[in-house]
């Protein structure tokens, strides 16, 4: 959901700043996400997580390497539809959209923010528990779920919260 101006600015920073500075900038810009990961989760969590990933991909060459050649659309939604986002990966770029796109590789339906965090970012990822507790449901190719799980955790690691 980053604006074209923001993306463009981050793209410049991505070209001129050394890796270390990019990492520092990612951590600084992702403070709201870090707060969510370390404290009380709110309904804003999904938006912040995807926004943080989008920002980090735009800014960090090293993080961006994870999605070179990767093309996929993920749709995230709460069961009641109150929160809905789509993430589109297209060969080194990530764009986040409000709402659900009609075509996707994976759809993840979750009960609430804690359920999504437990599914994607827990230190002891327990997808079985999530499925058993009926808190998260996935549709589509599970390998994409594994990959987005890695990307989220890789970001958390860069933010120092994994």
């Amino acid at each position: 959901m980053a604006s074209a101006f923001t993306r463009s600015t981050l793209g410049v920073a991505s070209r001129v700043l050394p890796n270390r500075a990019q990492g520092w900038l990612v951590r600084s810009l992702c403070q709201p996400l870090i707060s969510q990961l370390c404290g009380q989760l709110t309904d804003q969590f999904l938006g912040m997580l995807l926004g943080g990933m989008e920002l980090a991909f735009a800014l960090s060459r090293d993080y961006r390497r994870n999605i070179q050649g990767f093309r996929a659309t993920f749709v995230y939604t709460t069961r009641d539809g109150s929160v809905a986002r789509s993430a589109v990966f297209d060969n080194g770029k990530m764009r986040v959209h409000r709402g659900t796109l009609p075509s996707w590789q994976v759809r993840i339906t979750f009960r609430d923010a804690p359920a999504l965090k437990a599914f994607l970012l827990s230190d002891e990822p327990d997808s079985l528990d999530s499925i058993l507790a009926d808190t998260v449901e996935t549709e589509g190719n599970l390998n994409y779920v594994y990959r987005i799980g890695f990307l989220a955790r890789d970001l958390a690691r860069r933010l120092g919260v994994l």
């Binding site: 990822p125 997808s127 528990d129 390998n143 990959r147 799980g149 955790r153």
Partner: protein
């Protein structure tokens, strides 16, 4: 020379030589390390050959791929370093390898090989954290994590077996896949492997691989069609690759010998170089060489086939002639043979299956389940026990490893009491191994499922406890795991499952049980729902099987198997002499007891209406404590395992019903479906998912393991054994596990051994009109106090070996549910045959019931 020349069958005087003991100690210290070598080489060469663009991968393409991998593997002669856990994390440590067997399944001392063609991508989310996860962590370096993230996993996102199948299936196939992913009804294991078989090593040992290559080339020249010519050429490619790998190990050993200053180590390396230059290409001439050929073939088999249930078969038979020749020539002593086997056992355990964190909850603590079979009868039904049988037992006692999983065959009409006593003694000494199999019952079971008598007599055990003819039976014995209580659930709730609510019809309606007029009508509903679950699982298995045929031909296994050479056909296409697919049923005793409870309380006594019973289940027996008390009292409600005709008849009915349901079905290779009753850790995993059942089991509690009666309701050993011995072997063709727990009795060990052997003998000999005696039995002989201590301080019990339900595991590696299940199994005091009762054990912290 008699086959048994050892005077003291216990071989107590044989101890581990210090270098082997030190290597074993290093093995226990080492944590498994994820090894990307196989995955990276397979990916690289698949890319280069354009295999990701294929709609089908031919056997010759696959064979050339494996040849390149074998030619390019790092030749590791001796390992020098591994990683161990410390309170601060993982640390590297050094040790001195002294193994006479060079090479390894991965490049690591204790490695986790990855098979991205199957489920390896499940580790992707854990790449940064797997080294510190609570349950069975693996060491993974940052560099290796990057290799997997950038160079391996991305290429397989659409190309593992599951996704290849999803993309090519019909809507109905995908619907079945969704049913599988609900995890409540069945597990189909083809997305993870086929494996589960025993290769034929005898030809490689006896003739050498050059002879097999020449045979394949000659048949290729005579073959009339291109497919067969390609198949034979594929065999040549993989065997040349294996010979090249052995030569690279020989070169590495020679190079290392040239640099070695220590004369003894230099000589050892030179001997490895000499042997590996000749083997496995040429026939093995000594016992050590025979073991070397088997080891090298074993490495190659694991390159191709995931490390799940691949088994080594009757090694005491395959190697006996070489052993005897060495002994007669004065080249080999019993002590040296035990030492060689100890080293081989360590090699066999050099890899651990990759299990993601979520999988740890269902399969936690499992090794590769590499079964070895000893004893039994020969093709003519004569005693085949020999010196090596006892030497392998001794090596197992001394090494006390999870892998290999030792299984011993005993025939009540053929074998001596001394042999049986020795098998029981080994169980007392190890606490958990070997599992014991009754030849009379197993041979009858195999003969009923398509084996000739000679083939049946030459059976080995696969994975956990599944029997199949040695080197000629491709049976994927673990193809499907069925949660039988889920079928009961569908019958109880008219085609629905409580977890998915009243609106979600899962299967089809068989009627509200409250409206069924008789117990027979309810049993019919159970039968129809069970058939539905089995039918869905079988259809899914066949669909995955066809995907394996299109994308995963197996030339290495085919080169080491009886049948493919003669038929000119890969084992995946039906090339083996004998084909099958195996089903393991979970929760048999719980369902049998549930049927008996309904029959007794609802239909015979009218003590409760069916609708009331269902209400009790929905409320997890809260408010129905009287019912729970009644159900858990075997004196008032018959339970399987008390030699009670009604309860046992329901168990027999279920077993015959399930066998009838599948035995006419042919799989995608033209083989039969077979049903067995061994549960690994799935009785705990499935138990966690299921609500209360009519036998008094509350929601989330474990189901009974294998064919073991439910815990806590069989107060006496002998009736428990009689009930299980009644079950018809011809309907249990995929094996069974009866798990018993005995209290180690201090003091008079000889008396305990006598009671132990008498109990087993009575169980195996309890033949009547329909039974041939109990089929299988396995034990835990560890005190309750010791288990509790191991829960408190796992690090002090690193080597505590237990029988799960089929395989052996280290107690500390099991998930909390499984640890609890083992502790709460009915425990008998052999001196009295009575069950010992203990206070219930709470689940370890962090464990949860569903």
């Amino acid at each position: 020379m008699s086959s048994v020349t050892i005077d003291d069958l216990s071989l107590q005087h044989v101890k581990l030589p210090p270098p082997l003991a030190a290597l074993r100690e290093a093995y226990f210290q080492a944590v498994p390390e994820v090894c990307p070598e196989r995955a990276a080489l397979i990916t690289k060469f698949s890319l280069e050959a354009g295999l990701f663009q294929r709609d089908r991968i031919a056997v010759l393409e696959k064979a050339r791929l494996y040849r390149r991998v074998l030619e390019n593997r790092l030749p590791v002669v001796w390992h020098t370093r591994a990683h161990r856990r410390t309170p601060e994390g993982m640390e590297e440590f050094a040790f001195e390898d002294t193994s006479p067997f060079a090479g390894s399944t991965t490049t690591r001392f204790k490695g986790v090989p990855l098979y991205p063609e199957f489920l390896a991508l499940g580790l992707w989310p854990e790449l940064w954290t797997i080294s510190r996860r609570k349950a069975n962590p693996y060491y993974l370096s940052e560099a290796d994590a990057r290799t997997l993230n950038f160079e391996v996993f991305p290429h397989w996102m659409e190309h593992n077996i599951t996704e290849l199948a999803r993309a090519r299936g019909t809507d109905q196939d995908r619907e079945r896949l969704r049913l599988l992913q609900k995890l409540l009804f069945f597990v189909a294991s083809k997305p993870n492997c086929i494996s589960h078989t025993i290769p034929d090593f005898s030809r490689a040992v006896r003739e050498g691989l050059r002879a097999v290559i020449e045979d394949a080339q000659a048949r290729k020249d005579l073959a009339g069609d291109a497919a067969r010519k390609d198949f034979y050429q594929g065999l040549v490619e993989v065997l040349e690759g294996l010979i090249a790998y052995a030569r690279s190990l020989a070169a590495a050993a020679a190079s290392r010998a040239a640099r070695e200053a220590d004369p003894a180590r230099k000589a050892a390396l030179e001997e490895i170089a000499r042997i590996y230059l000749r083997l496995p290409e040429q026939p093995a001439e000594t016992f050590r060489e025979g073991l070397t050929t088997i080891w090298l073939c074993w490495i190659a088999v694991h390159l191709e086939n995931p490390d799940v249930g691949l088994s080594l078969g009757r090694l005491d038979q395959v190697l006996y002639d070489l052993y005897r020749r060495d002994v007669e020539a004065g080249r080999l002593s019993v002590e040296a043979a035990v030492e060689l086997l100890g080293y081989l056992w360590l090699k066999i355990g050099d890899h651990v299956p990759s299990v993601p964190n979520a999988g740890e909850q269902l399969f936690g603590g499992t090794g590769s389940n590499q079964a070895i079979t000893i004893g039994g009868v020969d093709g003519e039904g004569r005693d085949a026990v020999n010196d090596l049988t006892y030497i392998m037992l001794r090596a197992t006692e001394l090494m006390l490893l999870r892998d290999p999983n030792l299984n011993a065959r005993y025939h009540p009409e053929v074998h001596s009491d001394a042999y049986l006593r020795r098998l029981c003694q080994a169980n007392l000494n190890t606490g958990a191994t070997p599992a014991l199999h009754n030849d009379r019952a197993v041979i009858r079971a195999l003969a009923a499922s398509g084996h000739t008598l000679a083939q049946a007599r030459d059976y080995g055990l696969i994975g956990c406890v599944e029997p199949g003819s040695n080197g000629r039976f491709y049976g994927h014995s673990g193809a499907i795991l069925v949660n039988l209580p889920a079928a009961l659930e569908l019958a109880l709730f008219n085609g629905r499952h409580r977890r998915f609510g009243r609106d979600a019809l899962i299967s089809f309606e068989t009627g509200d049980p409250a409206s069924l007029a008789s117990f027979a009508q309810f049993k019919e509903a159970v039968r129809r729902q069970a058939l539905w679950v089995l039918g869905e699982a079988i259809a899914l298995n066949d669909w995955f099987g066809r995907i394996h045929q299109q994308f995963y031909p197996t030339p290495i296994l085919s080169a080491l198997f009886e049948g493919p050479m003669e038929k000119g056909q890969d084992v995946i296409e039906g090339g083996a002499c004998l084909n099958a697919s195996g089903i393991a049923v979970i929760g048999l005793a719980d369902v049998a007891d549930s049927l008996t409870a309904i029959e007794t309380l609802v239909y015979q006594e009218g003590r409760i209406e069916f609708a009331g019973f269902l209400d009790a289940l929905r409320h997890n027996y809260e408010g129905y404590e009287w019912l729970l008390t009644r159900l858990r009292d075997p004196q008032r409600t018959p339970r399987f395992g008390n030699d009670h005709p009604q309860a046992d008849a329901n168990a027999v009915w279920l077993i015959r019903m399930l066998d009838e349901a599948v035995k006419g079905r042919l799989n995608y290779r033209g083989g039969r479906y077979r049903v067995g009753y061994w549960t690994m850790t799935n009785h705990a995993g499935f138990g966690r998912l299921m609500g209360a059942t009519p036998n008094g089991r509350k929601a989330g509690e474990n189901f009974s393991s294998g064919l073991t009666p439910c815990s806590g309701v069989t107060p006496f050993l002998i009736p428990a054994l009689r009930s299980v011995a009644k079950l018809p072997p011809e309907a249990i063709t995929n094996g069974m596990a009866l798990n018993l727990k005995f209290t180690p009795e201090e003091g008079d060990r000889d008396r305990m051994l006598e009671s132990f052997a008498a109990a087993v003998k009575g169980y195996f000999e309890a033949a009547d009109g329909q039974s041939a005696g109990g089929m299988e039995i396995q034990f835990n002989v560890t005190s309750h106090r010791r288990f509790l201590a191991a829960l408190e301080a796992p690090s002090q019990f690193e080597q505590l070996l237990v029988r799960v339900s089929g395989y052996t595991a280290y107690f500390k590696d099991l998930n909390p549910q499984m640890q609890q299940e083992i502790i709460e199994r009915t425990e008998y005091r052999l001196s009295t045959g009575e069950a010992v009762s203990y206070e219930p054990v709470p689940l370890a912290k962090g464990a949860s019931h569903g």
